[in-house]
Symmetry: C2
Subunit: 449 residues, 2 copies
């Protein structure tokens, strides 16, 4: 394509534009893009993600819009349209040719995150009763543009039900008069059109495949999902989970491209929930005000003790969230996780508790603070309070972290919402209760009445 | 393969074994595997990950070991050998045929996480001066087993330097007397054999490719990396990052398959570091003991205030860690992140601070605790201390979270080590200092002398 712009001022290189991209606004991007040579523009456009493509196309004149939309295979095109504002979308769809428009409407009917929304509806199809020579001749006649998935041909019956698959290589190697039926592989991994993309990703990882055919509930072939699309899916799903684990809503766009207030909104929600839940720590401490007045030293250790619960909880929750996402843990495994984690919590808590006791004892001998009578007259007792509390708090934090993802999943929510900050906040409140209860129990008769 | 076992007792189904797998020990797995029919065993073996395959093969008799090792393409075989204990590895390598052994030695010379360790050294090669007909004939003669990458043929010169690529489909569509040189695509995405697998993954995601050829420093073709392997890489890298973000060392194996003490070791390291760093909070509070004695109410809000710093920090660090892993942020972008995050921190802190002030004021009017003179006579002042501290702590926590990944990367460490618990612990200590400093400043002359 030779636009006027690139003939007048073909000064921008792909490398320059790629570098400047994250800091340019939409107008600047369109401007820069239109100053690429046509070959560079094509290279650059095909590198972009759907969101960027959508913004770019929206900013171009109609003639160029049509050109760029047609440069994309239907699955990528559907992604771009999904990122386009509703009112623009219909106008862009009207620019497509009839066949593509039909394909796109089918794809857009699926949600973005299911197999049907991910598949390419163009694929090479054969009939089982063809000979290999007929099949090769037939495939050669199919125009290049209509078929993206160039590695396999799928064998369908008259009702479009999927019978088998044959690679181009297998066709080339087979005898010309053999039947497709006898050459094709019949033992296929397929996915349902409504399968969630995360599950599709797990199948690709499990079977190390380059392409999986998509069928509907009646076994009729709908399209093909290829491994290159799954690379993107796996990255996106992990990004979402990581952002949720950090206590943010999923950004759904690259970090530098999220506007300030958009970013604010994605982060503010959980922060408010956590802050309000955090006020329970104020009530907990207030409840134990009397104990705190009598043994002031207890205040010193509050943050240390409750944060050890939060740390153990973050570990447990992230391990469980990830194992669930990878399909290693199912809902019914909660009992095994519970047993494993209670043991882990006790062991880790025991270690930290021992460390806490040792630190208090060491502090007694090192500390140059002789007026601190509480510490020096009862240092073993105080060390024991710290140690025992840490065991309790760490075990409890581990439990909360390990089981919260199961509870969320059971309620139909995303297990990744069991973020490190949420687990820490939940274990802070109970941590304080555990700490003061242990103190009251162990210090009664000595430092407490 | 018909082993004696599966003729005697072919009772185990693939589905059963798949279900029981996570709870079986190594002996049980070998036992179960040997009771599959040979077709099932092959299906099952090809589903397994490298670690499982290594354990299984190690437990089989030598004749079967040889069989199963030969069932794998060289890149997968190298992965299995890498998971095998050193002393076993040499013995297993000795079971291979000469050609495979040579390939494997080359692959094992690369680290597991670089392109060379990931590639398949078997690929179809052509010479540029061949005609299309000659090329097709030549490819047909190459035995099926030697070539896994069945979609592209790579065109090399006499020194094995990569000149271009042609798909089987393009060959089939081209005129028989055309030269390969004229049919092949010359504009190739390639990777260096030493490139880190995370960077290779980014290239696959950027260009949506199914295969990328690997070349050495002299441009000589070494092998092919395919998208199905990259799906695994992207999952593994994300798993590592998520586990590190949660404050654990990377597990390197499925959650349920990590033994108790192994799991303990992976988690204990960071917990000890965090606990010991956490004792700085004890020193900080001790330092402000006098202030705390005079205004006891300050103790109530300690956990709430410092955790708001940790929460803001977790958000910032996970966003930055992920953006770095996706290649959206480079080291030199730290300044832009700094500016964005200081603004975000102030805005989020301002929101939380306002919330804190409102909560203290509300508490004054609702609280049925008239003896609490500190609160009721100076509630606006106290609310201001809370509000201002939260602004400071949240902004500081956000800064720590946003910049720590850059600092770690600058030092050559993994940015993902800026875990949520580490950021929380670091911002706890400074959070206390900010809180008490604000209190001393604002309460001087009223609640403080």
């Amino acid at each position: 394509m030779d636009t006027e712009a690139d003939l007048q001022n073909p000064l921008v290189s792909v490398a320059d534009l790629r570098d400047a991209w994250p800091v340019l606004d939409v107008e600047g991007r369109v401007e820069g893009f239109r100053h690429l040579t046509s070959a560079d523009a094509e290279e650059f456009f095909l590198e972009l993600q759907a969101l960027d493509r959508a913004q770019l196309v929206t900013g171009l004149p109609t003639a160029e819009q049509r050109w760029w939309l047609r440069a994309l295979p239907p699955d990528d095109l559907a992604d771009v349209l999904q990122e386009t504002p509703e009112e623009e979308r219909e106008r862009l769809i009207a620019l497509l040719d009839d066949a593509t428009r039909r394909e796109i409407k089918i794809l857009l009917a699926y949600s973005e995150d299911e197999a049907g929304g991910l598949m390419n509806p163009r694929y090479a199809r054969l009939r089982p009763e063809m000979t290999v020579d007929e099949a090769i001749g037939y495939l050669r006649r199919q125009t290049r543009e209509r078929v993206e998935s160039i590695y396999y041909a799928y064998v369908l019956d008259k009702e479009s039900r999927l019978l088998g698959v044959v690679s181009f290589r297998q066709l080339m190697m087979a005898r010309g008069d053999a039947l497709v039926l006898d050459v094709m592989a019949k033992d296929l991994v397929t996915v349902l059109d409504e399968m969630d993309q995360e599950a599709v990703g797990r199948l690709f990882a499990q079977y190390d495949l380059l392409a999986i055919p998509v069928v509907d509930g009646q076994g009729r072939m709908q399209g093909v999902v290829t491994a290159d699309d799954i690379v993107d899916v796996v990255r996106e799903e992990a990004t979402e989970d990581i952002q949720k684990i950090g206590g943010t809503a999923a950004l759904d766009a690259p970090y530098l491209q999220v506007g300030f207030w958009e970013m604010f909104k994605k982060r503010a929600g959980w922060l408010v929930i956590l802050f309000v839940s955090g006020t329970l720590t104020v009530s907990a401490i207030k409840f134990y005000q009397g104990t705190l007045d009598q043994v002031k030293l207890l205040a010193f250790f509050m943050p240390l003790i409750i944060s050890s619960g939060g740390n153990c909880g973050s570990q447990a929750s992230t391990l469980v969230i990830r194992a669930m996402a990878l399909g290693e843990l199912r809902l019914r495994d909660w009992w095994r996780v519970f047993l494993r984690e209670i043991a882990a919590g006790l062991a880790l808590g025991g270690m930290l508790g021992g460390l806490g006791l040792s630190i208090v004892i060491a502090w007694h001998f090192i500390s140059g603070d002789p007026e601190n009578i509480e510490l020096h007259s009862h240092f073993i007792l105080l060390g024991t309070v710290i140690g025992v509390s840490v065991v309790g708090v760490a075990t409890w934090g581990t439990m909360v972290g390990a089981l919260l993802p199961f509870a969320l999943k059971r309620m139909g929510l995303d297990p990744a919402s069991a973020s490190a900050p949420l687990v820490a906040t939940l274990s802070d409140v109970t941590g304080l209760v555990i700490y003061f209860s242990v103190a009251i129990l162990l210090l009664r008769g000595t430092l407490l009445p």
